[in-house]
């Protein structure tokens, strides 16, 4: 995402989203960027081999686990966790299959209306003004190198010079870093605003938690650039029509029980201690159930913040508190499910050390 960038000659202005791209095209300020699928694929840094490696490795692992289970040899908890990741990875891979990997340079979209270039080329070369784009495509950088960029009038009003533009983006994108560089000024400002206990609570408890949890909210419903201009936010995705939105929700609702269910496969397996077994059982049940209750509670919170009655405000606040508590619990469950298999390695049942000899399954003479 964030593949198209608005340029005015040499100057990069900002990253475009589909809405602005449409607006600019409708106003006739840009030509619709024509790019073929091959050109997009060409941007990807992952070749066929890399993709094949992941697919083969994950599939091989799943097959191996099925083989072990079919022959009734122990499948360790670490393998169960890896199995869950492999299955989910298949979905992630399918979803991101066409997205080029590790793109570093967006595709430039050039503003058409620079009076100078039109003047220059429209008259001298006899090209009609309805056909300026092909010339601007290559010729404009050479022209604007000497003159300051101008004539960029769009709905978001780019700031005149490149220097100004960079300054403004610096201020927005590195605000999080600033806070930790200047912890004391930030704290004192918050204390002045909220009082001593409130300010301290905000700085040391509320703010770190919100920074940690923000991406979860973003992954769920971030559809704008959040003030960024030179790139899209990390967890950005374009806004969806309601039909696709329900498909996404349906996909999530099927993935959640599959992921938790795979963890539940180790329900009766060997653990070094009883506590670990029950921790595993409760946590794998929790990750099955908790996302559903989170979604359920999320539906009670009103999207429209402007006109709410006091009662609705109270309900929203309560729901938010429960939601945040659940997310934190969920993260703890996940950490538990990642750590338990590792500490269970200290005491594995003997049959965990038996491997299937895959040569046996290849037809051979013996």
């Amino acid at each position: 995402m964030g593949g198209f960038e608005l340029h005015d000659g040499d100057t990069r202005l900002r990253t475009l989203d589909i809405v602005e791209l449409e607006t600019l095209e409708r106003e006739g300020k840009i030509d619709w960027p024509s790019i073929s699928q091959n050109q997009i694929d060409d941007k990807s840094k992952a070749d066929f081999l890399t993709k094949a490696f992941v697919v083969v490795q994950a599939m091989w692992f799943v097959v191996g686990c099925i083989g072990r289970a079919a022959n009734e040899i122990t499948v360790t908890e670490l393998e169960i966790v890896t199995l869950a990741f492999s299955v989910l990875n298949a979905v992630v891979y399918w979803l991101w299959w066409d997205k080029p990997m590790d793109v570093r340079c967006p595709i430039p979209v050039y503003l058409k209306s620079s009076p100078k270039t039109l003047e220059c080329f429209g008259k001298d070369n006899g090209i009609s003004s309805s056909f300026p784009h092909d010339l601007q495509w290559t010729q404009q950088p050479a022209l604007t190198r000497t003159s300051s960029p101008s004539g960029a009038q769009t709905n978001r009003e780019p700031k005149g010079t490149p220097a100004h533009f960079l300054q403004s983006t610096d201020a927005t994108s590195t605000s999080t870093d600033d806070i930790y560089d200047n912890l004391w000024p930030f704290t004192s400002r918050q204390i002045a605003k909220r009082g001593v206990p409130g300010g301290l609570f905000y700085v040391f408890i509320y703010y770190p938690i919100s920074v940690l949890l923000q991406p979860f909210d973003d992954m769920f419903n971030l559809t704008n650039f959040r003030g960024m201009e030179d790139r899209v936010p990390t967890f950005y995705a374009p806004a969806l029509q309601s039909s696709s939105d329900s498909v996404v929700l349906l996909l999530g609702l099927t993935i959640i029980p599959i992921f938790g269910g795979i963890h539940c496969l180790a329900w009766r397996s060997h653990f070094p201690s009883v506590y670990e077994r029950w921790l595993w059982r409760s946590n794998s049940l929790a990750i099955c159930v908790m996302p559903f209750s989170m979604i359920l509670i999320g539906t009670f919170i009103h999207d429209d913040k402007s006109d709410r009655s006091i009662w609705q405000k109270c309900v929203d606040q309560a729901c938010e508190v429960v939601l945040i508590a659940q997310i934190i619990l969920y993260i703890f469950s996940r950490i538990c499910l990642l750590v338990l298999p590792l500490i269970a390695l200290r005491n594995l049942p003997p049959s965990a050390y038996i491997a299937l000899n895959w040569i046996f399954f290849i037809p051979h003479v013996s």
Binding site: N71, W96, I127, T138, G252, I255
Partner: protein
């Protein structure tokens, strides 16, 4: 010789009272040639049928080729041959042929390596981050990727939701503009034909301009 054999056998034999992890149907993989059964691995002993030993045999000298051939014939017929068990001692280069069995041994390191390699492939390589800003350093890009990997480990469902939103969003956009894109190609093609003569002149004036747009 016999006494020594019996002792060694007794040492490597498992406790018969202990329940077997599985009924192996009376098949013993090693049959007569190998004392080590694969089901109860004895990790203090080096594996008898190791590939370095074969390699030594192959590369040491051509003289040994006859041994190798003999051994491979032996290995081929290992099911039907019955002979006194050959005891491999530590450091021996003797190759003991062994029947291929459905079960094999693995070490803890192999388990960990296998799992970690798969998790790495699933979480690091499968991540497709958004395009960074031009001023972003390599470290920032890397850090963002690590963050996504961390969130993929912590809450894979959420990352899948994000990926799904991107997938279906991109699908909507591409379906909406597929026709427009094709139309724009044809548009520029017709324009190009109309202006071909003039464009030729331009192409001479600005060599790098070319027909790239139309193609």
């Amino acid at each position: 010789m016999d006494v020594g054999l019996v002792e060694l056998e007794a040492a490597s034999m498992p406790d018969l009272e202990a329940p077997l992890p599985r009924d192996y149907g009376g098949r013993s993989g090693c049959q007569t040639f190998c004392l080590q059964t694969p089901y109860f691995p004895d990790y203090s002993q080096p594996r008898s049928c190791s590939s370095p030993a074969i390699r030594t045999l192959v590369f040491k000298s051509a003289k040994n080729m006859s041994i190798l051939i003999t051994l491979s014939i032996l290995a081929y017929q290992s099911r039907s041959i019955s002979a006194l068990p050959v005891v491999p001692w530590p450091g021996s280069t003797l190759v003991v042929p062994r029947a291929v069995d459905i079960f094999d041994n693995r070490t803890l390191l192999q388990i960990i390596w296998n799992c970690f390699a798969t998790i790495f492939a699933c979480t690091w390589i499968a991540v497709h981050p958004n395009i960074p800003a031009e001023k972003d350093t390599q470290w920032q890009v890397l850090g963002r990727r690590f963050a996504i990997m961390g969130y993929l480990l912590l809450a894979p469902e959420m990352v899948i939701l994000w990926a799904a939103r991107q997938h279906f969003g991109a699908k909507e956009i591409s379906q909406k503009y597929k026709g427009v894109f094709i139309a724009s190609i044809f548009h520029s093609l017709t324009l190009t034909n109309r202006h071909r003569a003039r464009m030729d002149e331009n192409a001479r004036l600005f060599p790098h301009h070319g027909w790239i747009r139309a193609a």
